[in-house]
């Protein structure tokens, strides 16, 4: 990474993980709900 660029990758990773957890989690919940309506 070029010099002088802020080192804040942890925040980026956290945001991407949170997004994946919410969207995949909702997909799984929806799938399970449609199996037993």
């Amino acid at each position: 990474m070029p010099e002088g660029v802020p080192q804040n990758s942890a925040f980026m990773i956290a945001a991407y993980v949170v997004t994946a957890v919410i969207l995949v989690g909702y997909a799984v919940i929806l799938y399970r709900r449609t199996l037993k309506p």
Partner: protein, 221 residues
């Protein structure tokens, strides 16, 4: 049910493509010099915000059409869109503060844009709570339609809040009258991500709509 199966497939394809968006954003899109890697949160935060607003807009339109035509399909669609919109607004409201902390130095500030988007999330929640609380199907559909229309009215205020009020939130750099002020590679990543989020919205709504149909069939059986 064909609608349910199609919705499941679209969702599965959307989730695979979401992984592709992650690869493109993390490995093949340049790092912004002043914000650093945290700027890449933009590629999930902005599409989730736009899809949340689109979902509420469609809930409102479905509400108008329901009140005009008394067609249950619009009520069912409104319910599906509101639930899916809630999920996307949770993404918006979690990724926003995660970006804000390293860039602004604070997780949250009560400025107009942030407060109005929180209000949008609360409207989604209120809509779902209302549907759970009213047992009469006719009344439930009418009350929900009116609340959905209130949400639709809120949307222009959210979009214009960065122009109308002093706010920390960045102004639109794509959805504005002039050309997008974003380098080509970043713009492509954002647009691809937006299309994938829309695809996921479609897959989720189809499944949620099918779930309502299955519940109605079970209730009448």
């Amino acid at each position: 049910m064909k609608l349910l199966q199609t919705g499941r497939w679209i969702t599965a394809v959307g989730l695979v493509l979401l992984a592709g968006v992650y690869v493109r954003a993390l490995a093949f899109t340049p790092v912004e010099r002043f914000q650093g890697p945290a700027q890449k949160i933009y590629y999930v935060h902005v599409p989730s915000a736009v899809v949340s607003m689109m979902a509420m807009g469609l809930v409102g339109l479905a509400g108008i059409l329901f009140l005009l035509l008394k067609d249950q399909r619009f009520d069912r669609f409104g319910e599906a869109s509101a639930e899916v919109g809630t999920a996307f607004s949770v993404v918006m409201l979690t990724t926003g503060p995660i970006w804000a902390k390293p860039i602004w130095g604070t997780w949250w500030t009560w400025d107009a844009r942030l407060t109005l988007t929180l209000f949008l999330f609360l409207l989604f929640l209120g809509y779902l709570l209302l549907r759970g609380a009213v047992t009469d199907p006719g009344l439930r559909a009418r009350y929900s339609a009116v609340l959905g229309i209130c949400g639709l009215v809120l949307l222009p205020f959210i979009h214009l809040s960065v122009y109308l009020f002093r706010t920390l939130h960045p102004q639109p750099i794509v959805l504005k009258p002039s050309a997008p002020s974003l380098p080509g590679e970043m713009l492509v990543t954002l647009l691809v991500s937006f299309l994938v989020f829309v695809l996921l919205y479609v897959g989720f709504v189809m499944q949620r709509y099918a779930l309502s149909l299955l519940r109605e069939e079970a209730a009448h059986a």
